[in-house]
C-alpha cells in the first residue's frame, strides 16, 4: 500500500533576486511500514523534501500526496492539524522543550495537540518511555540528559501519537557512533513493533548501511536510476 507518493514535484526558493531550485522534478512512492532514507550532500534537497512530506512546506508544481491528502491544498491550520494527527518528527538537535521533563515532552503532543484524556496519556507515554529505555529518567529535564537520551525522548515523542509516518531530519548528526547505532536500532524496533513508516534525511554512511530503502539526491534530483522506485540498500 502506498503511504506517500510524489509525482514530478519541484520546489524553488527565491533568495533576493536569485532563484534557487531545491527540488527539480522528483517522483517516488513510499510504502507503509518502510524504513526509507534520502541521502545526499548538503544542498541536495533532502531537508526540503522532508519538509514537504511533513506538510511544513509545499511543492511549487507536481503532486505530493501524504496519506491520501494533497499537501499543497492544506491551509496553515489544516496542515498543523494533519501533522498533529498523522505525523511524527525527530530533529537533528532533538528540539525538546527545555522547561518540560522527559515525561512531559513525550506527553506534549497528546496533551496540547491531540488533547487526549489523562489516563490514556499516562499509559501511552509510559509505554513509549519504557520502550526507548527512558522510564527511569522521566522526571529529568532536557538539560539533565545526554544527547543520546534526548534523542530517545524525541523518538518517544514522535511515536506517542501512533503516527503513520515519522520524519527524521539527520537524527544522528549530533550523536557519537555508538549512540547513533543505538538510536537507529531503536527506531527499527519501533517500526517493527508499531508498523510506523520512518523517513530519514542523512549523509551519515553508517546510518545509510542500515536503511532498507535509500534515495540518493543530488542537486534536487533522485539519482542511480532509482527515481520513483524503492531501492533496497
Amino acid at each position: 500500500m502506498s503511504l506517500t507518493s510524489a509525482e514530478n514535484i519541484t520546489k524553488t526558493y527565491t533568495m533576493g533576486e536569485v532563484q534557487v531550485p531545491a527540488i527539480r522534478g522528483v517522483s517516488f512512492q513510499l510504502q507503509a511500514g518502510s524504513f526509507v532514507s534520502f541521502v545526499g550532500p548538503s544542498g541536495s534537497g533532502k531537508t526540503t523534501l522532508l519538509n514537504m512530506l511533513g506538510c511544513l512546506d509545499h511543492p511549487d508544481s507536481g503532486r505530493l500526496t501524504v496519506l491520501d491528502t494533497e499537501v499543497a491544498g492544506l491551509s496553515r491550520r489544516a496542515a498543523a492539524a494533519f501533522r498533529g494527527r498523522h505525523l511524527g518528527f525527530i530533529f537533528q538537535d532533538f528540539n525538546l522543550v527545555p522547561v518540560l521533563t522527559a515525561y512531559e515532552n513525550v506527553e506534549y503532543p497528546l496533551l496540547v495537540v491531540q488533547r487526549r484524556p489523562e489516563a490514556e496519556r499516562r499509559q501511552r507515554v509510559m509505554e513509549l518511555l519504557e520502550a526507548v529505555g527512558m522510564a527511569e529518567h522521566r522526571d529529568k529535564r532536557p538539560g539533565q540528559l545526554s544527547g543520546g537520551q534526548k534523542q530517545r525522548v524525541a523518538v518517544a515523542r514522535a511515536l506517542v501519537t501512533h503516527p503513520a509516518l515519522v520524519l527524521a531530519d539527520e537524527p544522528t548528526a549530533n550523536l557519537d557512533s555508538v549512540t547513533s547505532q543505538a538510536i537507529v536500532e531503536l527506531m527499527k524496533r519501533m517500526r517493527d513493533t508499531l508498523g510506523t513508516t520512518f523517513v530519514f534525511s542523512t549523509h551519515d554512511t553508517h546510518l545509510v548501511e542500515q536503511i532498507e530503502t535509500v534515495y540518493h539526491l543530488v542537486d534536487g534530483r533522485i539519482q542511480d536510476g532509482a527515481e520513483g522506485v524503492s531501492s533496497d540498500a
Partner: protein, 415 residues
C-alpha cells in the same frame, strides 16, 4: 488551559532575572500609583471636608446674582422671607440632605475701642450652623467653656484679626455696618471664641448670632444672604444639587429669569481647581503606569519570542495550532503582569497602611497642621490590578501574534 498555564509559568521561571526585573518595574509603577491615589485622595478629601465642613457646606443657595457679587457681600440681593421659606420647603422635601443653615453675611467695621478694622461677618443660628458645618467647632481654638455655643450678644473672631487687635475671649467690642437703606448702625458684642483661619473665602469671617445680625442691619423681618446645605453622603452632592436646582428652577421673576442660584462647593471655592489638578496628576500617573507595564511586557515577550524561535518552530511542527501558540505567549504576558501587580499591590498596600497608621503631616494655605490618613478603596485596588493585567495581555499580543505566525521551517532553522 492548565497545561498552557504550567508551560507559561515555567518559561517565566526559566528567565528568572528578566522576569524579576520586569515584575519589579511593574511593581514600582503600581506602588507609585497606589501611593499617589492614597495620598492625593487623602489630601483632597481632608481639604474638601475642611472647606465644606468648617465654613461652606456642600451646597449653597443664593438669590440670583449674589455669587457674582460675592466679594462685596451685597445687601440688595438678599433672599426675602417668602423666598427663604420656599427654599426651606424644598430642602425639607429633597432626600439626602442632612442639615441646612440660613446666614446673613455682611461687611462692616470692628472696633475694640482702641483700634478699628474691617471685618466680614456671618450671622448664623448656631445649632443649625454647627449641624451644617460641624468643623467650625474644631476651628474654635479658644472658645466658651460650655462648648461651641454662640449666644446673642457674642462674637467669634478670626484668629488673625484677634491677634492683630490683641483681642481675647471676654473682651468687648463693637461692630458697625451700613444697612440696605444706607443707615449706619452698631452693636456691642462680647468675644467668646477665637477661630482658626481656614483656606479660601469665608476662612477669615467672624460669626455672630443671626438675631444680632438682623437687628444690626435693621431687617424686620430678617432676610437671608445664603442657605448652606450639608448632604448626608458626600458622594451624593451632585445628585442632591441637581434635584434641588431642578426643584427651584421653576421660581422665575417677572422677566422669566430664575430667582435662585444653586451651587456646589466646587463652583464657590478655588480648591476645586487644586482638586482637579490632583485628578489630572493621577491620570498622568496612570499613563506612566500604562507605559511602564507595556514597555516591560512587550520587551520581555519580544525577547522570549526571539530566543525561543526554534522552540516555537518545534511546537508548530508537532501540530500545535497557531491559536495555542498565541495563547501560550499571551498567558506568559498575563502571568508576568499578575506577578508585577501582586508584588506592587502587596508593597503598595503595606506602605499605604503604614502611612495611614503614622499619618502624613502637611500644610496647605491657612491649614498648617493637616494630618493626612492615606487610604485606598477596594475598587481602586481592583481597577489597578485589572488595568495591569489587561495591559499585560495587550502588551503580549503583538509578540504572541508574531510567534503564532512564524513559518515553522524558518523557525526551525533559527539559531
Amino acid at each position: 488551559m492548565r497545561e498552557i498555564l504550567r508551560i507559561a509559568a515555567r518559561n517565566l521561571l526559566r528567565y528568572r532575572r528578566r522576569t524579576a526585573l520586569a515584575s519589579l518595574l511593574i511593581a514600582v509603577g503600581v506602588v507609585s500609583l497606589l501611593l499617589f491615589l492614597a495620598v492625593g485622595g487623602a489630601f483632597k478629601s481632608t481639604m474638601i471636608e475642611s472647606i465644606t465642613g468648617s465654613m461652606m457646606g456642600h451646597i449653597q443657595v443664593h438669590h440670583r446674582g449674589y455669587v457674582a457679587s460675592l466679594d462685596t457681600l451685597p445687601l440688595n440681593l438678599q433672599l426675602k422671607p417668602p423666598q427663604a421659606r420656599k427654599i426651606e420647603g424644598e430642602l425639607e422635601k429633597t432626600p439626602g440632605i442632612e442639615a441646612y443653615s440660613k446666614r446673613i453675611k455682611f461687611g462692616g467695621m470692628y472696633s475694640n475701642y482702641l483700634e478699628t478694622t474691617n471685618i466680614r461677618v456671618n450671622g448664623v443660628m448656631p445649632e443649625r450652623e454647627l449641624a451644617t458645618c460641624p468643623g467650625i467647632a474644631d476651628r474654635l481654638i479658644d472658645g466658651p467653656a460650655d462648648g461651641p455655643t454662640l449666644r446673642p450678644g457674642e462674637i467669634w473672631l478670626p484668629k488673625l484679626l484677634a491677634d492683630g487687635l490683641k483681642v481675647k475671649p471676654g473682651d468687648e467690642g463693637v461692630i458697625i455696618a451700613t444697612n440696605n437703606d444706607g443707615s449706619v448702625n452698631g452693636v456691642s458684642l462680647k468675644v467668646t471664641g477665637i477661630l482658626e483661619s481656614a483656606t479660601g473665602p469665608g476662612g477669615r469671617d467672624a460669626y455672630i448670632h443671626f438675631q444680632d445680625a438682623a437687628e444690626l442691619l435693621r431687617m424686620e423681618p430678617p432676610e437671608v444672604s445664603e442657605i448652606a446645605v450639608r448632604v448626608a453622603h458626600f458622594g451624593q452632592v451632585h445628585a442632591v444639587h441637581a434635584a434641588l436646582a431642578g426643584a427651584l428652577a421653576g421660581e422665575v421673576n417677572q422677566k422669566g429669569k430664575p430667582v435662585f442660584e444653586v451651587h456646589t462647593w466646587e463652583k464657590l471655592h478655588p480648591f476645586a481647581n487644586v482638586a482637579r489638578s490632583v485628578d489630572l496628576v493621577t491620570r498622568f500617573m496612570l499613563v506612566v503606569l500604562v507605559a511602564v507595564v507595556l514597555v516591560a511586557v512587550v520587551n520581555v515577550m519580544m525577547m522570549a519570542v526571539y530566543e525561543r524561535t526554534r522552540e516555537i518552530g518545534t511546537m508548530a511542527a508537532l501540530g500545535t495550532q497557531p491559536s495555542t501558540i498565541l495563547g501560550l505567549f499571551v498567558t506568559e504576558g498575563l502571568l508576568l503582569g499578575a506577578l508585577g501587580a501582586a508584588a506592587g499591590l502587596v508593597l503598595g498596600l503595606a506602605a499605604v497602611y503604614t502611612m495611614n497608621l503614622v499619618g502624613v503631616s502637611m500644610a496647605f494655605g491657612q491649614n498648617t497642621d493637616l494630618i493626612l490618613r492615606p487610604t485606598v478603596t477596594i475598587g481602586q485596588v481592583a481597577v489597578v490590578a485589572g488595568l495591569v493585567m489587561a495591559l499585560a495581555v495587550l502588551g503580549s499580543l503583538q509578540p504572541a501574534y508574531r510567534a503564532s505566525r512564524l513559518d515553522p521551517i524558518e523557525a526551525l532553522r533559527h539559531v
